[in-house]
Symmetry: C2
Subunit: 212 residues, 2 copies
DNA sequence: CGAAGGTTTGACCAACCTCAATGCTGGTGG
DNA sequence: CCACCAGCATTGAGGTTGGTCAAACCTTCG
């Protein structure tokens, strides 16, 4: 459904074409940056999964995107962060100074072109997300997320990197609805759930049909 | 709530810095481009309002964004359109060859920087939209749209350029819910609705409070 | 004046949410 | 090694929001 946001395949050389960069590890759940922070760096995800999203005052949370190994994240239009990024499980990132990258882009048109392409792909992913949240049922949303995760690895069986709460906050649902929908799929034979964090797609056709 | 997506204030010179461009008018409801078309041009909206969005096979529609005078639209990552653009009322646009613009961006770093900034602003608008659709109630969504439209002109009283159906398809609601929500606001004294296409915000505070 | 298209309103319904209880799993310490 | 605990996940019952279907109500336009 959604194509991954990356310059190159994940196994290729670093996505962000800047040499001077430090590598940092974050523990599960740790905050990488928060809404309101100065946006002085951009990130390339070496290993693990990152969620970016926003929090309303009353505690409602919306996850904008999950980012996977090989993808870049943390781009902002202004000086301040509008979203929060957190590690989903253990995470390794390369950190690049935003200034260094924009200087490089100013000198090297090819870098600028890639950066442009990167953000426009992010925009298209966000538009897919809008369609999902605006016009799809709970079943369709959950099926969409499972297919998104499957396409990432190319395998029909895969580990879920995130909790039910993360899935719910990405899909605009509650944790209970996600859970009920998954057991529904299970009972219909569309998926297997050998453990709570491992999924196998048994009937990909049917899941795809749910996404139109 | 959402800052307009534009290079310059609407009254300034053309947003897209390319001279060779034709100007075209579209009648109300007319299609400017459609999902699946080749994406050979980008557009600058001279006058009127444009909606961009997607259609599911079963007829469900989701509007991604409304574009207003001074804004640019029609950027794509790939060769083909993923969204459809239609005139909301009478519309005048400048059309620029995508190729001409990318050539210019390759030569002129400042142009490239502006294009980048333009798309990243679009991404942030889309993320606001995601938050709206994922975690806000019907009241909050309608209030958000009214404030968005008010901020565009800077006036508390303004014409609604779009139909109830367009509002519903942007907000992920039905036309009936939009209508009921507006009459709710009316009865609470939050807005006046002298005609079906004209709104006055009487209690901006209260509407903003609904948006957190 | 009549027709057409958009809008509003009403009654009813379904999907999803809320709240609460129960179940599972993985880690820790006796 | 096992018992216990904490934290997620699942399940259930019942409530709410927003959707559906249908009718009435403008406006605008011929």
């Amino acid at each position: 459904m959604l194509s991954p946001l990356r310059f190159e395949p994940a196994y290729a050389q670093p996505a962000l074409p800047v040499a001077a960069a430090s590598v940092i590890r974050y523990a599960a759940g740790e905050e990488i940056f928060a809404e309101g922070d100065r946006a002085d760096h951009v990130y390339e995800l070496v290993e693990g999964t990152v969620r970016t999203g926003r929090l309303l005052r009353d505690g409602r949370r919306q996850i904008d995107a999950f980012h996977f190994a090989g993808e870049a994240f943390g781009f902002e239009a202004g000086d301040l962060r509008r979203t929060t990024a957190e590690a989903v499980g253990e995470v390794t990132v390369r950190i690049v100074r935003r200034r260094a990258l924009s200087d490089l882009a100013a000198r090297d048109g090819e870098v600028a072109r890639k950066l442009y392409h990167l953000t426009i792909s992010g925009l298209q992913r966000s538009q897919d997300h809008v369609l999902m949240l605006g016009r799809r049922s709970a079943c369709e949303r959950v099926a969409g997320l499972l297919l998104l995760l499957a396409d990432r690895t190319g395998e029909a069986a895969f580990d879920l990197p995130m909790s039910r709460q993360d899935m719910a906050d990405y899909l605009g649902l509650t944790i209970e609805t996600v859970s009920r929908t998954l057991t529904g799929f299970l009972q219909e034979g569309l998926i297997a759930l050998p453990t709570v964090r491992h999924v196998e797609l048994l009937d990909r056709e049917a899941l795809e049909a749910l996404c139109e």
